[in-house]
């Protein structure tokens, strides 16, 4: 499957090495990223949380308006369950901590691209508790 992956990150180190596995493109600026998303509708968007740390949820909403079928994987460093759950409730399909990138990012992208969610059952449980409460 030819997966178009769009990286939206602060640093330019995360996306290195993925060009061979996927058709990937990187942005370090949210405005340009949004423009690309609307035009190209990538299969997967890998979004680094710190890029818009106060507005990540808003950025997620906007990305999904531009490209409703794109699946977003959130990258973060030691994000709290609260933050991750908040992003899940806005439509993020997966979460990966920075320390897991080398081991799992490729697998996460491949899984999410075919419609799976890359999120632990425990986080799903916490999210459900939140909406019930």
């Amino acid at each position: 499957m030819n997966i178009l992956v769009q990286f939206i990150t602060v640093s330019n180190s995360i996306d290195k090495g993925f060009d061979k596995q996927f058709n990937s493109v990187s942005f370090h600026n949210a405005s340009k990223a949004l423009e690309f998303v609307g035009q190209k509708n990538p299969n997967v968007i890998v979004l680094e949380y710190t890029l818009e740390s106060n507005n990540t949820e808003l950025l997620v909403d906007t990305l999904l308006i531009e490209s409703p079928n794109s699946k977003i994987i959130l990258l973060g460093k030691n994000l709290s369950d609260e933050v991750i759950i908040q992003c899940l409730s806005h439509g993020v399909y997966g979460y990966l901590d920075f320390k897991e990138i080398d081991m799992f990012l490729e697998k996460a992208i491949s899984s999410v691209a075919v419609g799976e969610a890359w999120v632990s059952r425990k986080l799903v449980g916490l999210l459900i508790e939140r909406i019930r409460g």
Partner: protein, 222 residues
């Protein structure tokens, strides 16, 4: 469920009951430390389910007859998980371990649909009160009287109450229910309520049978 008991007995304190009436009234603080594994065949009163979820620490629903969307609706309604009866023994153990660890136990392939449903419900919260076209289309195969019966079942009323309200015999109510179950392809009243919630009936005011009937049959005119 005997193989469930066989697997779990050596690992946990397991007790087996064959009727939910033996649990209620649920005024026992020990229930809050207990995980309930419940066969849906025992749930006769649809109001029992939320009460079970409030009374017990966790509730795992076991059945063979729930569709994926109905399984997801059970989770929204308070269950911690859904499983088929006939899973193998290692999976029985893994299921309970997951529930104890605060995981939501659902087939992995359904998690994206569960998450999407949460997002959709959040986004659809402005639509409360509007008639739901999906409900109308689905229930348009029922007669006017059958829709009235569905409305009362959704409110949690028992057969006697429905027969008194609609001025029909209990036998007639049961006949209508049989027809409703057959047309909507559900097995019992509990599954009917789960089915209706899955149509997002709960997100909008349930339209009266008269309104619904008139609306669907106007829509069906050429």
């Amino acid at each position: 469920m005997q193989h469930w008991i066989d697997v779990l007995n050596p690992l946990y304190t397991v007790s087996f009951i064959d009727s939910l009436e033996k649990i209620f009234p649920a005024n026992n603080s020990d229930l809050k430390k207990t995980i309930l594994v419940v066969d849906t065949a025992l749930i006769n009163d649809v109001h029992q389910f939320p009460l079970l979820c409030e009374s017990f620490h966790k509730v795992l629903v076991v059945s063979e007859k729930f569709t994926p969307s109905q399984q997801i609706q059970l989770i929204y309604d308070g269950a911690s998980g859904y499983s088929n009866y006939s899973i193998d023994k290692p999976l029985v153990k893994r299921t309970i371990e997951g529930i104890i660890s605060d995981e939501i136990w659902l087939e992995r392939r359904l998690i994206p649909t569960l998450l999407k449903g949460i997002v959709d419900k959040k986004n659809a919260s402005n639509c409360a009160g509007e008639l739901n076209d999906k409900i109308l289309k689905t229930l348009s195969i029922l007669t006017h009287r059958e829709v009235e019966v569905v409305e009362h079942v959704y409110k949690g009323e028992d057969i006697r109450t429905i027969s008194n309200t609609l001025h029909i015999t209990a036998r007639t109510v049961k006949a209508h229910l049989s027809a409703i179950f057959r047309k909507l392809d559900v097995q019992d009243r509990f599954q009917l309520v789960v089915f209706l919630k899955d149509l997002h009936v709960g997100n909008s005011a349930f339209p009266s049978a008269s309104t619904m009937f008139e609306h669907t049959h106007i829509s069906n005119r050429p």
